[in-house]
Amino acid sequence: MVEPQKFFDEMHGFGDGVRAPYEVYSKLLAEMDETRLKGKAAQAEAFFRRTGITFNVYGEAEAEERLIPFDLLPRIISAREWRTLTRGIEQRIKALNAFLHDIYHRQEILRAGRIPEHLVTQNAAFLPQMVGVNPPGGIYTHIVGTDLVRTGPDEFYVLEDNARTPSGVSYMLENRETMLKMFPELFSNVGVESISDYPSLLRRALAASPPLACMGKPTIAVLTPGIHNSAYYEHAFLADQMGVELVEGRDLKVVDGRIAMRTTCGYHPIDILYRRVDDEFLDPLNFNPDSLLGVPGIFDIYRAGGITLANAPGTGISDDKALYSYMPDIIEFYTGQKPLLKNVETWRCSEPQSLSYVLDNLADLVVKEVHGSGGYGMLVGPAASRDEIETFRTKLKTNPSNYIAQPTLSLSTVPIFTDSGLAPRHVDLRPFVLVSPQSIDVVPGGLTRVAMKEGSLVVNSSQGGGTKDTWVLSDD
């Protein structure tokens, strides 16, 4: 059994009374009737089902659409805490973009010996095709979703940078919509920063980096792998909210040196493509030849300045888990400053000393695949059975450079509403960031993922995690 008090709870601290950001909310909550809350929970679920806010689970026999459990209790962040986070995230994203530009141009960080060269040039996420390419607006990562975890009042760690195609922003927006519908009175009593302009900010951020070939007002589209993709709902939601077309690879082809979409009246060129298709599948002529999701020749058009791809191809290298451990060096190298947000201590299993430490301490560590995501293929030592640990030990020994290991963090908890009252559950936080040549905007809120099972540290929706609305308070 896990002792709840040993974790930092965002509402109750270490068991020493209600924390300041929750003061007003907790009074209002105390006045609410439990039966009414139960009714609201059912209402929220019906709303999600009716609206079809679902995700698809890979590897299930029938591609069932599932609801992500939604919890009614908000996760609340004070204005002061948010300012600290914002500064740290901005610093990190500036460094990431400078790093990406550097490794695809002069590679000064490699020459300076701050990162082992092979980690970059031999990395599967490094795209040699991007060398010398200048993305429109100089932006590599237009959209970022930084994964943060908290372990104490002032202890925030960056877990992952998610610079490829971060998902979840539709849940951030729909969760807020749901809360506004369920508890309008809360929002008139607690000053909460609004997030509803995210789609228009996204549209503006994308439009701020048009390609050379763009004449006049840019045509924007969202590229989805299709209705069977796990995040399809989000792709449709964002296209809808921005008022742009949602396209698939089969709608597009190269026409007169541009990428054009097939409309009922012929082909129409696209200037900016918010693509939710991974690099590998983007262009069968330049990358994976078996891909049916992409557009043959799109990469050549991109290089010639015919289209903006957001995010740029090749950004995946910056959220590579093996490079992650070098983030403090990367930040210092490009900004000349110490990192404002902490990195989680990381053992690179490619290094023999680290490997032997990791093998000796498997039961206490979290081991991740270097290129894995979504909670697939990872080992959470303290929660794993002896068999699982031994299986992982074999995998590690066979291919050590495929893994990194981190200590099991004492993730903060936030109460959730259960049948037997409030109970603390572990959470993480993914704020969403929009980058344009003019600005870096961290939208005041984010996706709080919550492990619905008692004691569990895995918050991924594919592994049964749920979500909460995330409030950033307007005043200190």
């Binding site: 009716r50 609206t51 809808d240 077309e245 709608d251 409309t263 009922t264 009246c265 129409h268």
Partner: protein
């Protein structure tokens, strides 16, 4: 203003074709079920004709030997191996709706999603075995709700045109098939001269086209084959008649011509089919072969569907 994606037009068109099929199949099952209750003796051949109308006879025979009420109902409602089953039709409606979600109003999407959830609920509780009329009534209600949100919430633009085209093409096809399956009932044969028309049989035709009340309203007790043929083929007051569907198809294609600034081959084709329908009188049709007329019409209708798909670039 950029025009919508060809794939979106396709999704809207097929979404409504499947919705229409969903509803019409339910109507056919309902008509067949009534027959099986009222005339137990001929129930088997009635079910066979219901399956023929729905275009499922061959597939049914691959799985079943006899035409029992239980097997036919199960096959038409629940069989996942039957592409035209209610189960598969509503799944296709929803899949196309998901694909074109950005083109749908929130009301329309929610109505479609709810139709699919309602069917799933009925299906999972086994209503198709325990309470068939209830399940079929739900299908009709849900289809009516979807249609209502189409009329009540959608902009009258290109999106609306493709939605309407899909439903009209499918409906014209279904009405022709209903008539074709029972065409022998309507033929003047030596045996039936002087004898009254088999009222249960023609009730079934009208019921399948949701036209029995309207027919009684217009014709009172007078029933003759030419009247029924005329009603279902030519009467533009009946929203399931072939002439009504083609009138409306022309309205939609004309609107698209204005919106897109170009006339399509599909438009010309629809106009020629419409003329063909209006110019053939019911007596002439019955005289020279109702079956031949209907088979020819079903082929023309399919050709128009294909021409619409090509002209508006549904696929590459």
């Amino acid at each position: 203003m950029t025009k919508m994606l060809g794939r979106t037009a396709s999704g809207l068109f097929w979404m409504m074709r499947y919705l229409e099929r969903f509803e019409n199949t339910a109507r056919l099952i309902d008509a067949g079920f009534r027959m099986s209750l009222t005339r137990a003796r001929t129930a088997r051949s009635e079910w066979e004709s219901v399956l023929t109308t729905a275009g499922m006879r061959e597939q049914y025979l691959e799985r079943h030997g006899a035409f029992s009420t239980r097997d036919v109902v199960e096959f038409m409602i629940a069989d996942r191996g039957n592409p035209g089953s209610l189960f598969n039709s509503i799944a296709s409606v929803r899949e196309n709706a998901r694909m074109t979600r950005t083109a749908l109003t929130r009301d329309l999407w929610e109505a479609i999603n709810e139709a699919s959830l309602q069917f799933k609920r009925d299906f999972e509780t086994g209503s198709h075995r325990s309470d068939l009329p209830e399940l079929l009534a739900h299908v009709r209600q849900q289809a009516a709700l979807v249609r209502g949100t189409v009329y009540g919430s959608m902009l009258r633009n290109e999106i609306f045109r493709f939605v309407k085209l899909g439903s009209l093409i499918e409906r014209a096809d279904n009405t022709a098939r209903i008539l074709d399956t029972k065409y022998y009932v309507l033929l003047p044969s030596s045996a039936s001269v002087g004898s009254s028309l088999d009222t249960v049989q023609w009730e079934m035709i009208l019921r399948s086209a949701s036209a029995e009340r309207s027919f009684h309203w217009l014709y009172g007790g007078e029933i003759d084959p030419a009247a029924i043929v005329d009603f279902l083929i030519h009467d533009v007051r009946l929203p399931r008649s072939i002439a009504y569907c083609y009138d409306e198809i022309i309205v939609m294609l004309t609107a698209l011509e204005t919106e897109y600034g170009q006339r399509t081959k599909a438009h010309d084709l629809a106009a020629s089919h419409e003329a063909h329908i209006t110019n053939s009188t019911s007596d002439a049709i019955i005289g020279s072969g109702l079956h031949e007329f209907l088979i020819d019409f079903i082929a023309r209708n399919a050709a128009l569907s294909a021409q619409i798909e090509a002209d508006y670039r549904f696929s590459q």
